[in-house]
Symmetry: D2
Subunit: 365 residues, 4 copies
């Protein structure tokens, strides 16, 4: 209840700080009997890890995961699965200048006031590094959902700063460091990022995620609606300031005669709903978008105060992502997977293991 556990029946409790000895998590509630080892988890961690291009932080972490429990002879036993990732490249001295001041846009100010103490090394607990255990847990959720229902997850960046990235094809996504579903725009994105870095500035991004082959019936209204839980999961990712499901804010200007997705014997005709009606999955693709704010830690000097309330100028040195959105796609996919996993278990608790398979439905893309 202190906020470090995600989920209700498939729970992920994380621990660790950016520059502590280790980070990790305990996953409770995983169904027994699933084949699982580190090779199922490491590839997802590798998609998220730092240092893989010049456009992200140069911190060098192998993010090697160790399974400490919950697996016997290569299969899950139904007991807690603990994942451990040792931190390898902590250069805490890089951050020494910020222990007494509050970076604008950063959690320094609020952690200090809330707890009366904070670990300033690399942002401590508030660091985006803490998304690594979640991605590890998400890999387990993705595997189970795929084996049980054929559910798959995809994501891409659809906007970088003020550059919109038209969707071309999913096949481009793993081919570039931006997770862009578009090949021709890459030189423009790279030039934009190089320029930002040179100016000691940062930018935001918009990320789209999709879950496909989702069973009908997931979601627990009237509060733990599937869309409410997805909003919770995605808004909780570091730096996220907005979440949309389906048509999102475009719904405001739509008429009812347009927005409501008509049904045909072959399935839904459109997907303004984003795959969720009344807080319950429809069997269509679940689609969501998030707005990620520009990184707070930038080299450009900004006005702030120190702990005593005196005005100071703060420049953030150290190694930081100039756009945290660049590595956010696998994180957002993982959070979406954790929500669906949790609700798959919640659904069968109350309604049993009967799941309605959706008819073949035209994809959202």
């Amino acid at each position: 209840m202190s906020g470090n556990t995600f989920g209700t029946l498939f729970t992920v409790t994380t621990f660790g700080e950016s520059h502590g000895p280790a980070i990790g998590c305990v996953i409770d509630g995983c169904p027994p009997g699933m084949v699982l080892s580190e090779v199922d988890i490491q590839p997802e961690l590798d998609r998220r890890k730092p240092g893989t291009s010049r456009h992200v932080t140069q911190r060098q972490e192998s993010d090697t995961v160790e399974i400490l429990s919950g697996v016997y002879q290569g299969k899950t036993t139904g007991t807690p699965i603990a994942l451990l990732i040792r931190n390898e490249d902590q250069r805490s001295k890089d951050y020494g200048n910020i222990t007494e001041t509050f970076r604008p846009g950063h959690a320094d100010y609020t952690y200090w006031h809330k707890y009366g103490i904070r670990d300033p090394r690399g942002g401590g607990r508030s660091s985006a590094r803490l998304t690594a255990p979640v991605v590890g847990a998400g890999a387990i959720a993705k595997k189970w959902l795929f084996e049980k229902y054929g559910t798959t997850f995809k994501g891409c960046m659809s906007q970088l700063g003020d550059i919109e990235i038209p969707f071309e094809d999913w096949s481009h996504v793993p081919e570039n460091p931006f997770f862009a579903a578009n090949a021709s725009i890459l030189p423009q994105l790279e030039a934009y990022m190089d320029d930002l870095r040179k100016n000691g500035d940062s930018c935001g991004a918009r990320i789209d995620v999709v879950a496909q082959n989702v069973p009908i019936g997931l979601g627990e209204p009237i509060y733990d609606k599937l869309d409410a839980e997805i909003a919770f999961a995605l808004m909780g990712i570091n730096a996220v300031k907005g979440v949309e499901i389906g048509a999102g804010f475009k719904s405001v200007a739509q008429k009812g005669t347009v927005h409501g997705d008509e049904l045909t014997p072959e399935g839904f005709a459109t997907n303004n709903a984003g795959g969720i009606l009344g807080g319950i999955s429809t069997g269509q693709d679940i689609t969501a978008s998030i707005a990620i704010k520009p990184t707070s830690s930038i080299r450009t000097a900004r006005h702030s105060i120190d702990k005593a309330g005196n005005p100071v100028l703060v420049e953030t040195l150290g190694r930081h992502d100039p756009c945290v959105g660049i590595r956010a796609t696998p994180i957002a996919e993982s959070m979406l997977a954790l929500v669906l996993m949790d609700h798959a278990l919640r659904h069968r608790a109350q309604c049993g293991d009967v799941v309605v398979t959706p008819p073949p439905i035209p994809g959202s893309r």
Copy 2:
């Protein structure tokens, strides 16, 4: 865990269906010793209730609330507070034609597939009528937060369909049925709604809500962040498709040198954060916006299927709001109040009753 309880320490468990004998809720965790009676709750219910203008549903409900427990000699005792609202104007026959078909954009399809049974009368459990108990509970949360911290809540409609409503002054909000903070635009809004009704169509809306005088330190990272919980609460309101905190989706195109709110000895200079950093309240105004989709229940015939999968045309008769967003402002305020109340209690569980009062800060408006 079946999704009908909102909150962790200040919990609201609701019950009831649109056309059942009664709706209500049980509020657990209210601090003892607060003066409370129905007169503290009824005015908030009256702000939300139907039938107050020609632009909302004409269902006649007094929404009279009865406190069944938890209050002794006019004060809360720390035991559960049960609120009961009898339904008075159920005309279930109005809905007879939809028992065998699924309305596009409505929860009919998903409730049916999830549970194998659904109460079709007025939408059953999925009806927006179920926001009434939440508004009742919200009134209690608002009262406690105001008495303890001076916290206040406001909200207004900022867009109706494709009409943006420029903010003029909060004083206009209680003076019109749209909750618009603008007097001059009212004729345009009324004409727009009259036209919609005539055409048997519906529209969406955008609602802004603000909490002021929020103590610093509320929010439980790294999952139960205050912004994540607000997103959960607001996305869970019927028909909401998008949630923004602070600058929201505008953050994507902002540079880090612009977005991160600078601090001065007198407080924050701007409020792109919407009053939350690292998932914890900063003491600034908390600002959020939601996108509400157009009402699904419209008179215009639309393509759908029946339970057997055969194509049908569905026209929704009965009494419906042509824009559910019109009555959404007090609901959104209540959900925000419930989140802050819950986190006020969670904060003091771990950190004690010490709360940092923010310095006087230029309001977001």
Copy 3:
């Protein structure tokens, strides 16, 4: 989290005070599609209700239950089931003399210190009257478990004060007001109670409960073990001071060569375990016993203090059970049923709907 909700997936949230307008509960998580109406619930309430013999409180309550929600056309819909019981016979003046003093052995002292306020009328929230909603909820759990697994529940009094009640046959239980599984001992029990009443004193009791035809596999170690949850449920009943599972405290003096129940191809040979091993049900009868202390509210004057700390003598007038254990059997059965129901749902969340049927096993009795 304020303690008025019982269960995790099949949750029962109760409200009300002994002398308030009503008591009741909201049950969330009931599987959909089960036939249910008041006639399924009322008989269980009638087994518990006061005024049915001269050996219990003479308060006259019909305990008529009304289902407010969650049922449509005679079947559960999967949405919350609210039960309402109006209080009918509140004579609060009977209790006027205890508003300023603390009865020895009663919750007066602790409620006052915890909350700074208490409702003294009939014990307020701490009254055993609040077991009525639980019995109502238990009736629903019993029905579902019986229809799904054939599970049944029984209970009897095995000791009244210092009189041990030898077990003869279950058929005697509904035939006497003591829930004794023994007919010949009844005159002795009645004389004992009459004597107590005459002396203004009270006594304790020991109650045994049994669940039969329990599926194998219920229980969630290593903390939410089935026996731990049963202990929680039974110790939480008013006036309970001890709980045993299976051989209970007799286990201490047993050798390992005696205690551990041997297995044969036909099932377990004995049942010292009480049907639970490692916190998980074995398929044997689940057996538990509870110790109930003597009623605190007695006519005999006792030493105590008032709110100001001054010594006083307290005699409790009003109507009270001279042995709260007499009506405790249906309550204990209900709590046991609620635990099994909750764990049936929890089991299938993680492990699916596959349940192992136990082989025919010699009953515990």
Copy 4:
């Protein structure tokens, strides 16, 4: 919710199996600012660890604890505290003969049926080895409660097999391997244990625990009563079959004129309540007793079945405690401490940080 998290606000999530690479836990909700390092935790682990006398298992484990997170510059930060203990002495081959059979009285049978898979090495997840992380977490709870309220914890063995151990003085407890508060009886206990070992048999024990200087007001009726939570915590310890609070089962034969503890201006006159009334702490000593069954893993051959249902004889080799009760005292103290810690935080969530200090009260011993 899968049962591996203990507590509501001060949560302990454990992981690991007896013969896996490591065991440990994540503690969430610890108040910030408390001085903490491994030296505060290790001594409690050492009280519980195996191999310290000939009367317990000879498995050699240093149980060295490493704090992985949640502490900065020697103080808790309010973020999760992860404790890691590497397993050092796993001789899994010792257990090879039990992978296909079910030991009488052991969790083998139920884990296998529940999950369809089980880790048989040393009992896997069901091993009493998993109490080590709980004792680590309990050390943190004890420290905070002592610093905040002066609360202390004690425990002793009061019966070994059929030998009752008269209480003499707490000072004896740390001086003998049995945690007996009696020096003269030690030769008898040692002879009893030596005899058991020689015969390949095992025995049960009774353990008493006491918490002193408990603030008034802890406990959250009407379900999360302090006594109910203690019963849950203690019954959940491996091999426990019974729990008593205060007078326990003796209450049954007590009259109301005896049982109810009278109050005087100087405090309570007696403590039959065991420090809890109405589920809320009175400020008196909290006293509880548990019954621990004899160890299931014994060398004597017993009848059982294999996975295929065929009859077999099972002798358990490997290293086992002939009386698991011998090491249970620090575990029971820890569980009690975790319950009080959790309820201290829950109390101040609803009622604020005001705690009533009890008057000086004659101790229970």
